[in-house]
Symmetry: C2
Subunit: 602 residues, 2 copies
């Protein structure tokens, strides 16, 4: 095989590009609906089973406890008790602290670690998820409800609002799951989550300045400017004892001591114990490096652990379980719960085997509720603040942010957008900014596709992007362009301009490499028709290489294949170039109907 | 070359996939900004020119009349006078009718065909655009302002609001153009426009039932239900004479006659003349088939004609011109104007040469204003209705709708969404529905990419989608998958599930064909890392074929190339298969570090 003018073995019969067989509209419609909503095919296991078996499978589908319950062994129980008690030791201080974040009575945090885990143990399909309240959701709830009702002035109404909000959050989660719309959460990218969590953590930490500095008055806004103004306008009220104590209790596991605590020695012991456990487990979870896998979304901590242990989690089903748990919980004085990643990581490290560990945790929390409730009256705010701050620092994943900057600047922008939005405006603004940037990126990808000029890789019939492969040779008289996105209304006119402006020199053929064009719509086809007219007028021949099945289907239906001529569509760029070469050297381009005319500028 | 086990000539040295040379961040950032906002490079002509020349070019850039004015000839003038008078004969009756649609005094319609064309003649770069008011914008203005102020009760305030709205519409258009954001209008697809225009035309026609049936009271809502209820609740008030006249004057070019008109004979003559011209030119424009190319967007009629005559139109610059024309117009009692496609088509057919035809039209309209104004007091509503209905039927492009159904069901949905939204709710609702469906389609394309299984085309090293090419042979022991979209956060978890569930049989290699993967973000890279782990655990080797430059760059930065091994990235599927075949037949897969393990289900 020579370099420039080798003869292709079967030039006279290049491969045909196939138009896929037509599919009835409703069949293809059904298929695409199925791909959109049931990509994981959750009903596969029900196929070809007798009705009684189907009923049992259906029950097990919604109540996985029926599946693993009968196989439950004493060995499992031992592991689950250990892990259950471990996560309870996290759930108690965190529950109380996070309830404070939501401006709710601390005891609600414990209720929320009691009822929902029991529901999840029956309905959840993850074996590792530890159920409980989370800081960011608590903060969100507190700030959103605080806009409506002042918790201090009207505590009963505030409480009722909190339960109603939880109830409807549950309804929303369960319906998204039932309607198989869980994929909507895919639109929260990894970068969004990193930025959002770090921003929320920053806001939460700033809020704790009230407790840390022992301030009585504090702004109700969450943005950094209001908070700092509020803090620095009261410099004379700062209590250094309180700050030192907070620093001490958040950085070590020693027992705390405040002026309030002095009144009751018992609570000091309880709090000391809790913080000890908290810091211990937090650092342990860190050591195992779990925090590096930042949770993608609400129901993804379950999935991440499922991957470790290799079993399958259906995200939509998990959303139904978590939604039900919130619906039921809201009737029992619980507020918003989910499966926090950090606590689940502790659960896995402590060796949990099944969701029974949640039941054990619930029982431990119940024990705390029965016997330790009197102590909760004296909640030492400074210690709660310290607990929260220690937990929050774990959410600020600056290494992930550096990684984003290195690998993908756009993702970094998304992350910083979310962070700055949350810190300088509000949680909602941050979320909206991040989602808007992310979606804008998708739209820009489609609206501004790149067109590459391809060249021949020496001694082969392979044609590649000349920018990526600088050693390629250009083919004289032939311009080969690759389009790297679907051709849709959003980019049709942009591509038309690109294709028109390309190659102002004396050309004979323009080959469009279509492999990466996944789809085309009617605007795209109109654009190609215009390009065809322009190239005709300039005396150029338009040649297509390897259009995909969707594109061929559409081109066929719109009769554009007849316009361009089936013989000008080739399977590979190599074959197209070969055919052009042959025509170029043996005869004029066969444009009997459309004579090539010189392109006169008006 | 045999079929199953031929030997590739240079198997030992397959082509390397290149990592593109790293670009400084700000350079690539600048490039992508330029591609997004200046894809047409409007400043190209300013490069390497002396400052005085630059200044002249800059003036000509904003005032194209300085460019073509000096070259203006008497021949041009003759053509422009003919076409100018022709479009004036359209502008007068349409101006009056459309002003009625906006609930404005008819004379404003004439003002709007006087001042703005003069501005456009100086600033516009299209030689064919005829400036004037359009029905849909007038209707929109009427319905939106009507929500705020009742035109009958408070005419002065209504007028002021109309001018203010025009002013701000002009500011918006000019700023979008100046900020090079004209591409935003690309997001209105062809299908959206077809449905939206048909819906708006239906609404306008329904509104004319008031005039056609001679009703005194009429609903102020625009949706079909309110209108029909209003019409049929007043059956006893219908005036058949009026309806017959309307039918007659809209379907033929004979002179109209109404009870109101009888009072003044002159106006009958004027109106008859106008309708005659209107119907004549309307049918003429139809005959030339211009209406089939439905205007894509405001500034696209200019571009379509520019393509016919082969000169370049900068859409953003046109937006500046049209915006300025509205800003200036609003100060001279003009309301919203643009370049309507139908009138521009008439302009082209009448042989216009430059924007001077707009000046001629403006002068003709001024003549009408000076001498025919007394007649406008007796505006025969039924005739106006007939004019509007005749123009509106031209906007209902049912053939385009059938074409959409045949070629692309999704585009058809977009079109019907816009139509039904406009007809059953309001203009805004229709627009929002259509844009939402269009953008949803883009997002779904990215969120639910397709993965194809590739097979070998007999007697070649070409690998293609087995569904499109049923004659392909599968390669034993190797699964070849093609991904046809960029790998972004929105599809990363979907693709992970697809890749995991693919090929449950005994495989040795999974080849991912990446040509169509235009880009990847950090979520996508995490997904690939997970897939790599899963395949390792199942004892499979993950092989990449032809990742593009962006993908290679990201994979390199995130060190994923080291994870997968540079030697497992091939330039073509053929080379990848060949390498796998060789390893498969001569030795075990070289997994020294990661031993293949049987995949045990837990």
């Amino acid at each position: 095989m020579g370099n420039s003018d080798y003869v292709y073995p079967d030039r006279q019969s290049p491969h045909q590009v196939a138009v896929p067989p037509p599919q009835p509209f409703f069949k293809s419609f059904k298929n695409s609906l199925k791909e959109t909503f049931f990509p994981d095919d959750p009903l596969r296991q029900f196929k070809n089973k007798p009705p009684s078996r189907k009923f049992l499978l259906g029950l097990q589908y919604f109540m996985p406890i029926l599946e693993w319950g009968p196989r439950y062994s004493f060995e499992f129980l031992k592991s689950d008790i250990i892990s259950g008690i471990t996560i309870a030791s996290l759930a108690i201080p965190q529950g109380i602290s996070y309830a404070k974040l939501a401006n709710l009575p601390p005891i609600l945090g414990l209720y929320s670690s009691f009822i929902p885990p029991l529901i999840y143990a029956m309905m959840g399909s993850s074996r590792d998820l530890a159920v409980g309240t989370v800081a960011v959701a608590s903060l969100l709830m507190g700030s959103m409800l605080g806009d409506e009702v002042n918790a201090a002035e009207n505590p009963t109404l505030y409480l009722h609002l909190a339960f109603t909000a939880t109830f409807f959050a549950g309804i929303l989660q369960a319906s998204l799951g039932l309607l198989r719309l869980g994929f909507i959460v895919d639109f929260l990218s990894h970068a969004t989550i990193v930025g959002f969590m770090a921003g929320a953590a920053t806001v939460v930490i700033l809020q704790q300045l009230k407790g840390v500095l022992g301030l009585d008055h504090f702004t109700r806004s969450t943005d950094i400017i209001s908070v700092l103004r509020s803090v620095f306008s009261q410099i004379h009220e700062w209590r250094w004892e309180s700050a030192v104590l907070a620093l001490f209790s958040s950085s070590s596991s020693s027992s705390p001591d405040t002026s309030e605590l002095e009144e009751r020695a018992e609570s000091t012991v309880v709090w000391g114990f809790c913080i000890h456990l908290f810091v211990f487990f937090n650092s342990r979870a860190d050591r195992h490096g779990h925090r590096r896998h930042c949770p993608r979304r609400r129901n993804s901590s379950g999935r991440s652990f499922a991957m470790l242990k290799q079993y399958h989690i259906d995200g939509n089903k998990e959303m139904v379980a978590i939604g039900t748990m919130n619906i039921v919980g809201s009737c029992f004085s619980c507020y918003l719960t989910t499966g926090p990643f950090s606590r689940s990581a502790v659960n896995v490290n402590a060796g949990c085997k099944t969701a029974m560990s949640n039941v054990v945790m619930a029982l431990a929390v119940m024990f705390a509720l029965l016997f330790l409730t009197p102590l909760f009256h004296y909640t030492p705010i400074v210690v709660l603040s310290a607990i929260i701050i220690a937990a929050m620092f774990g959410l600020i994943d600056y290494e992930a942010t550096i990684h984003l900057w290195k690998v993908d600047k756009f993702d970094f922008m998304v992350c910083m957008g979310a962070y700055l939005g949350v810190v300088f405006a509000s949680v909602e603004v941050g979320l909206v900014i991040a989602v808007a940037i992310s979606v804008l990126r998708l739209l820009l990808f489609v609206a501004r596709p790149r067109t590459f000029v391809l060249g021949n890789i020496p001694n082969s019939t392979i044609y590649r992007n000349v920018e990526q492969y600088p050693t390629t040779d250009s083919v004289p008289g032939i311009l080969i362009l690759e389009i790297d996105a679907p051709i849709y209304f959003a980019n049709a006119s942009y591509l038309r301009e690109r294709l028109k402006s390309a190659g102002e020199t004396s050309l004979q053929y323009v080959i469009l490499h279509m492999t990466a064009v996944g789809n085309i719509d009617t605007s795209g086809i109109s654009m190609l028709e215009e390009v065809k007219k322009t190239t005709d007028r300039r005396g150029l021949k338009l040649v297509f290489a390897n259009p995909g099945s969707e594109v061929m289907k559409k081109l066929n239906k719109s009769k554009f294949i007849e316009t361009i001529g089936q013989e000008w569509i080739y399977l590979t760029v190599g074959e197209a170039v070969e055919a052009c070469h042959y025509k170029l050297h043996t005869c004029k381009p066969d444009s009997t109907s459309e004579e090539p005319q010189p392109w006169n500028k008006v």
